[in-house]
Amino acid sequence: MVEVTLWGSLSTVAGGKAKHDIEAKDIRELFRKLAEQYPGIEPWIDRGIAVAIDGTIYRDTWSKELPEDAEIFLLPRLAGG
């Protein structure tokens, strides 16, 4: 079980809650379970969500494991110049 924090706008499509306890071993499973629980999140995942694990931002490595005691924070996937 990991505790996941959603950024402000994303929490509006996740029952208005910022913090969620999810049983997920990696980013892929986390996204799947969030989408099952809150279908409104799916378009956001399609557009891109980055996952910060203990402060390190992962944008594409969906196989990245989620340690139980890690701080996990969802962020918008960013554009750069």
Partner: protein, 754 residues
């Protein structure tokens, strides 16, 4: 991916040195081939007809007269680019932006295009195309567009991110929010509160090379595109989807690039050139004029930002909040979102809240510009931080040091920081001689901090060892800032060979696996990781070949300083084999020797910078002169320090132009008034002092060498540093960028009039 990216703290031989740039001779002798330097036999000249209206329904387009003109080989409209986007809203916007379908949404929006045997006939043909417009009310100002009475740009847009879907459409496409704590409680605890509103005008990246491409579509469905781009693999994906081509049959070759800075991350002219070529059955060359680049490529947002920061008497910030409105052009974007994430990222804040609003306007579609959205937010926040320090009576640097984020701080955008460099950049600035240098009359000094995320992405590298022992490195990230040099240094480091033995190239899309765009300061970060991985894979083969040559187990062979060494006393009579020795025998030990790597480079470390600037202001004319400028920035590890310094200086130079001069000026008719470098003035060498740099190296724990991206952060602090310097010089807080002479005089007049 079987690759451990963790920082190891190794000592370097090649990395950190400053060899000559591999592309230097070609560039100074004119041999380097840029987008417009490529030609194909039988190529036609493409030209685009653009809307003169900021907002208009396209009732009809009659191309018959143009088609009959001798020498015209193809005329296209949106009908020749049918919608194949299959519900992908972002791709539909790219399609509509490439060629307007129902409405022209800004002055310069493409509505038709021709391919002719020469430029004169192409221009004549454009004049023969008859477009029947129904002109609509327009809006170009970000604040006016956000107003509920503003002309609607898209009546299907309902603001996202609200708790309930709004009943009426709006020009605000999205609301985003970040933060933590309780700002009301924080402001209640504050002894001092600063509340200010700021504006920044739209600017262009100002790359010297205009967009240019040559497209050739064959009857069998294969195609070639030669183009100036920051990401030829992404261009291939987008163009293939928009044209209905198979991606693998569209070969895209990137040219040398005369600047991109985020502005060459999107297709505009390329789908049009391909559609013209498909219709004409001949190659088509399309080069945008400077006027077109300004009117119809992708400048940055204009912004309107409100900031409120509170602090105790001892200088502790108790609360900070900001509302940020960013223009997106006529299509949805996420520019305010990034501003809202970066605004307070430099600080340790218990109570912080930022809200961003994405606003549609009748201007070109906003594109990324070097650390997109961060400079404007930094301008607003760092100006307010300076004022708050003054109110409290603290030194501006000390105030920032007291409140700077550090390892373990919860970032204003959410997660907790790992090792970061904001504190060290501030300490370096505090000690820098620039801060103690005397100022003369009418001169002011300002400093400011900046933050950028950096990121990685999908990356692929091939490393091939020739039979003579020379090494070629094929990468897929376009070299926008010296990556061929830095990646050669990295490969030399891993292989233990001399830099001169290596030649790096940017491979075309048919020669290498997919690579994301060179953006997000990712070129050297990502491709160095793939290069290290590819070199290590090549070393596995080199060890195996050496083992064959010696007829000993491969486990007994190690790779040290460019040589295979048989370890153990029993091999004492075996002399080390160099890479060259092993390569020479490769034909009989298993064939070509190569190392490949395909990976996702994640874990790019965030980056911070602090800048110092001295400005002299002429109080009679409002003219400004940059007297001295210093950049201090964390690079993680500077692979080729000269290029890193160049990135620092380039970002500062662009920021100086943005802060003091550059501005899109629209008339009441919604048309751009200054689409050229005479009226839109970017800084030239004679405008600038030597920009001093100081590289700090706080290793990124998620890269084997500790590398962080360095390309973007350097443009984040200048707007604020210069605004603080000008404000200190004239004694009036400047709140509107650019601080052009008329705006400075107006601020001085307003101050005098009270």
């Amino acid at each position: 991916m079987n690759f451990d990216p963790r920082f190891t703290g190794r000592k370097f031989s090649s990395v950190g040195t400053r060899p000559l740039r591999p592309d230097g001779i070609d560039k100074v002798t004119g041999r380097a081939r840029y987008g417009a330097d490529f030609n194909m036999a039988g190529q036609l000249v493409g030209r685009i007809l653009r809307s003169p209206h900021a907002h208009a329904v396209i009732k009809s387009i009659d191309t018959s007269k143009a088609e009959k003109l001798a020498g015209v080989k193809a005329v296209i409209t949106a009908k020749d680019l049918p919608d194949l986007t299959d519900g992908d809203a972002a791709m539909y916007d790219i399609l509509d932006n490439s060629m307007a379908r129902k409405k022209a949404l800004y002055d310069g929006h493409a509505v038709a295009a021709v391919a002719a045997i020469d430029a004169r006939i192409a221009r004549q043909a454009l004049k023969l195309i008859e477009v029947d417009y129904e002109v609509l009310p327009h809006v170009t100002d970000v604040d006016e567009a956000a107003h509920h009475h503003a002309p609607l740009i898209n009546d299907q847009v309902f603001t996202e991110g609200l708790e309930e879907k709004p009943a009426k459409p709006s020009n605000i496409t999205k609301r985003t929010q970040f933060g933590h704590g309780d700002v009301h409680k924080g402001f209640a605890e504050a002894d001092f509160v600063i509340e200010r509103s700021f504006k920044t005008e739209q600017t262009h990246q100002g790359y010297i090379e205009p967009h240019a491409c040559v497209a050739s579509v064959n009857p069998d469905g294969t195609a070639d595109l030669w183009v100036c781009t920051q990401g030829h693999f992404v261009y291939r994906q987008h163009c293939a989807q928009l044209l209905g081509l198979e991606a693998s049959k569209l070969r895209v070759t990137s040219s040398e690039i005369g600047g991109g800075f985020g502005g060459k991350t999107h297709v505009w002219a390329e789908p049009v050139a391909l559609a013209l070529s498909r219709k004409a059955g001949r190659p088509v060359k399309l080069v945008m004029t400077r006027d077109e680049v300004f009117r119809a490529s992708g400048p940055t947002s204009a912004t309107s930002i409100d900031v409120r920061i509170g602090a105790k008497k001892d200088g502790t910030i108790t609360a900070a909040e900001a509302t940020l409105r960013y223009s997106c052009g006529p299509y949805a974007g996420s520019w305010a979102e990034i501003g809202a994430m970066t605004a307070f990222a430099c600080y340790k804040l218990e109570n912080v809240k930022t809200v961003g609003f994405e606003v549609l306007v009748n201007r070109p579609k906003t594109a990324a510009y070097r650390a997109p959205s961060a400079p404007m937010a930094a301008f607003a926040v760092e100006s307010s931080i300076d004022e708050l320090a003054r109110e409290i009576g603290m030194d501006a640097v000390d105030f920032r040091i007291k409140n700077a984020a550090q390892e373990g701080t919860r970032a204003s955008y959410g997660p907790v920081y790992g090792p970061i460099g904001i504190g060290p950049t501030l300490e370096a600035v505090k000690k820098h001689p620039h801060m103690k240098a005397p100022l003369k009359a009418n001169q002011g000094r300002g400093m400011a901090c900046g933050f950028w995320f950096n990121f990685g992405g999908q990356t692929c590298v091939d490393l091939n060892i020739g039979m003579d022992g020379s090494v070629s490195l094929a990468v897929g990230t376009v070299d926008v800032g010296g990556s061929r040099a830095s990646l050669s240094l990295v490969a030399a480091e891993e292989l233990g060979i001399d830099y001169s033995q290596l030649k790096a190239i940017v491979a075309d899309t048919s020669s290498l696996g997919y690579n994301d765009m060179t953006d997000g300061s990712r070129g050297t970060f990502s491709s160095s990781m793939a290069t290290i991985s590819a070199a290590r894979n090549a070393i596995l083969i080199l060890r195996d070949r050496a083992a064959q040559m010696w007829d000993i187990p491969v486990e007994d062979v190690v790779w040290e300083k460019g040589h295979a060494i048989a370890k153990g006393e029993k091999y004492g009579n075996l002399s080390p084999l160099s890479l060259k020795d092993i390569a020479a025998k490769s034909g009989t030990t298993g064939g070509p020797i190569a190392g490949h790597s395909e990976l996702v480079a994640d874990g790019a470390g965030v980056s911070f910078a602090t800048h110092i600037c001295d400005i002299e202001v002429d109080p009679e004319t409002g003219a400004t002169r940059v007297i001295r400028y210093t950049v201090v920035q964390d690079a993680g590890k500077a692979v080729h320090p000269t290029y890193v310094e160049g990135q620092y200086q380039g970002g500062a130079a662009q920021g100086i132009g943005w802060a003091l001069n550059e501005e899109y000026i629209y008339g009441k008719d919604g048309r751009l008034q200054n689409a050229g470098f005479l009226d839109y003035r970017i800084p030239v060498c004679s405008d600038l002092p030597m920009i001093d740099t100081q590289i700090l190296e706080i290793p990124n724990p998620n890269h084997p060498y500790g590398v962080r991206g360095v390309g973007e952060t350097s443009i984040v602090p200048p707007l604020a540093a210069i605004a603080n310097a000008v404000s200190n010089a004239v004694g009036v807080r400047m709140t509107h960028i650019p601080m052009s002479p008329p705006r400075i005089l107006a601020a001085l007049d307003a101050e005098r009039e009270g």
